[in-house]
Point group: C2
Chain length 319, copies 2
């Protein structure tokens, strides 16, 4: 709340006085705001005699990154009063076994939300797995029916990263109606759903941003990307390309949301650090708003997954 | 085929010599090309001992426009060797009765493709009706699973109008990869799926156009629409606004596809005529390619619906 007021105040000040650098939107701070809302929602559910929301996670194989992601998710759940359990299967698990496990957890009323950590081993069809999860428990929002609903502006489980981008824009007071948004990246989990959320009608069942949206990607020539990004009021970088967006591509005062997570090894120390798709230092001098990496969209994504889990628990009350 | 060669030749000549007016893409001619392909496919199906493809149509109420649309569709079917039947129900029909009828036709193996003519009376939930049609018989492509598949670049029944626009572009030899497309209009049956087809990856299961795509709509300010349309190699006008696209908004040599169908009453004679969203006479002097209204996307849309019916008949062979 304080953060919200502060950011609004800063955006007013930005109009009144010349400024030197962008407002850096802290995903960590905004995530805390959402955490408080989730904790309140969980307490409310329990106070009304309902079960504590529970997140079921299926983890296949021993990829360290996947194990870290899952640990981050279940740890966040615990802190927020959401219970969870992780079912681990070896990478040799058959698709049939996996589908049976999902079916069992779909029918288990104690599981409010269910996710299968991706990627899966090559012998398993990820699409079949995503479509096997009951749509009302599908906290990742990857089920074909949830994708269809998202694209038709119906209420649905919105995938966590696009939902995070939406919340960061809205909670920072960045206007979208009639604005031009450039989305760089067209992945089905990030770029495409972000474009869907932002271009659609604010008066539909699931409100959209009413923005003019340009979707760019690896086939977009560099000169064209620059041409279009210079016309954008909001730039969403979700291509997985370090330094894709540089200061010369940003209109003075534009909002720049960096969804990229690229692992870069320091040539001297050998240490791995995370960088986004945006040249942060350069763009900071030009943009009106900017999200950092790390500490931007990342923590917000986990928060939105938890919000989806509470939504799933509420869905269960209606079934 | 001749038409295709002619159009390719014209596009080469256009590069070699200065020209005075756009190549007018005749939807009527291209539809004839597709008709021949469908007739060949139907004959082939029958020659292999399969049933003749059959289109089932459900028509509710007595709206004259709906009756005309249905008549055009079933007449086209007959000409192409596709059998059809139209089940008419009064506008007082209950949603339950309608869903029962759909269920019956879903289970009827003699029905290859099934469509319910829209719009439906207010007391009926159109979404529920679209979702009741078996996805593999859904020749309109409006089922939530077909929408989801379309947006994930999976093979699916593509709605006829977006499919028509795609074919007109491809069969006229207009390049899309790396080009900038402006789609004016974001309807769920036309603008949105066109944007999906054109921005997505040409190497995916259902190939996309690999174009950079901008989606504009009623919230796009006029100055911004012009700014973006002047950068577009392809403009798709699907807003339902007469004269939305004028010559001053078109880049020299751009392709302009007019999906608008607006009924205009002549103030003198009182006669009703159809016009598109594009100022045809003006834009003709500027564009490289242009589709007329009528005789453009309209006849191609009916052709693509028939193509979907043949696809549905093929789907049935695999079930």
């Amino acid at each position: 709340m304080y953060l919200l007021c502060l950011q609004r105040l800063l955006s007013v000040l930005y109009i009144m006085f010349p400024r030197h650098a962008a407002v850096v939107i802290s995903g960590t701070e905004l995530a805390r705001q959402i955490h408080r809302e989730i904790q309140r929602d969980v307490e409310e559910l329990i106070a009304h005699g309902n079960m504590r929301p529970h997140l079921g996670v299926i983890l296949v194989g021993d990829d360290p990154a996947s194990h870290t992601y899952v640990k981050n998710k279940t740890r966040a759940a615990t802190i927020l009063g959401i219970s969870s359990d992780t079912v681990v299967r070896p990478s040799s698990v058959s698709q049939e076994e996996l589908l049976e496990l999902i079916d069992k957890m779909n029918r288990d009323w104690k599981v409010s939300g269910l996710l299968v950590q991706l990627p899966l081993p090559d012998h398993i069809n990820e699409r079949a797995v995503c479509n096997a999860i009951a749509p009302e428990k599908d906290v990742d929002g990857f089920h074909i029916v949830n994708i269809g609903k998202l694209c038709l502006d119906q209420r649905s489980m919105v995938p966590a990263t696009p939902a995070a981008v939406w919340e960061m824009i809205k909670r920072s007071g960045i206007q979208t109606v009639g604005k031009h948004v450039l989305v760089a990246g067209r992945s089905k989990n990030v770029g495409m759903p972000i474009a869907m959320l932002l271009h659609s009608d604010r008066n539909h069942e699931r409100p959209g941003g009413d923005a003019t949206v340009t979707i760019a990607h690896r086939c977009t020539p560099q000169y064209r990307l620059k041409e279009l990004s210079l016309l954008a009021d909001i730039i969403i970088a979700a291509a997985g390309v370090p330094s894709l967006i540089t200061a010369d591509m940003v209109k003075e005062g534009a909002a720049v949301i960096d969804v990229g997570i690229n692992r870069i090894q320091d040539q001297k120390t050998g240490a791995v650090r995370l960088i986004g798709d945006v040249d942060f230092e350069g763009v900071k001098e030009k943009a009106g708003f900017l999200t950092p990496v790390p500490g931007g969209v990342g923590p917000m994504t986990v928060a939105m997954l938890m919000k989806n889990t509470v939504t799933a628990a509420r869905n269960a009350l209606m079934h």
